[in-house]
Symmetry: C2
Subunit: 123 residues, 2 copies
Amino acid sequence: MPAWNPYASACPTRLVLDRVGDKWAVLLLGVLAKGPMRFNRLRREIEGLSQKVLSQTLKSLERDGLISRKAIPTVPVTVEYSITPLGQTLTATVDALRIWAETHIEEVLVAQKQYDEAAALTA
Amino acid sequence: MPAWNPYASACPTRLVLDRVGDKWAVLLLGVLAKGPMRFNRLRREIEGLSQKVLSQTLKSLERDGLISRKAIPTVPVTVEYSITPLGQTLTATVDALRIWAETHIEEVLVAQKQYDEAAALTA
DNA sequence: TCACCAAGTTACCTAGAGGAAACCATCATG
DNA sequence: CATGATGGTTTCCTCTAGGTAACTTGGTGA
């Protein structure tokens, strides 16, 4: 195993953090983890997500092998997106993060409150 | 527990993803997990990190209660940053992500290669 | 013929993140 | 007196992510 260098874009840590740090990518993986879905359905399901960004995000997720795209020759053609086994393993891991957040959010909020109050005194 | 809404900035999921998606924040947590460190030492340790962003990132991490700041009245004054117990639990969780990345990077790279080759054919 | 669905692409614009580098205060040393 | 260390703040500038909205392609039905 090479010494991973987080500054290099090729570092796997950076790759996964890029995905995980992307709000829409996480949301998409979460939705698709529940079952396959078509393009416009995803758009309606995830409020606030524009066509452009949806298209971009789906592409990069597909490129990473986390989701797969299947064009079905209906008329008009429908395109179904589904999560891959690889994508499944990632959502499982991201879930650990979600659980951390739900477990510790109170502590974070308390810390923020204290910090802000202390800052208010100084100002 | 309320139904967490990932669109709201108050959603804990978004909060933790904001931190985790921040390259420098993750790097800082990683370094501080190994032991306390002073400002300028951090700057030298983490190549490419500007003073401004270091300062900003340390502040937000401190505000979230993930690290703590201690000014020591030496001369010139030294400021020591260290990870909190709360921060420790987060780094442990983020490690799961790092492990996912190291475990599955090969699959992702293969997927990307296949995707790019297929795209090259179409073009 | 016109209108409408699908799934995108493209052009345009703007706000914000982040880098570079200068500036600040304090004290000690040469 | 000037320089260098400490730990920052401030200004300026650039670059890109992402939003809006219009356009595309192809086929179907009114």
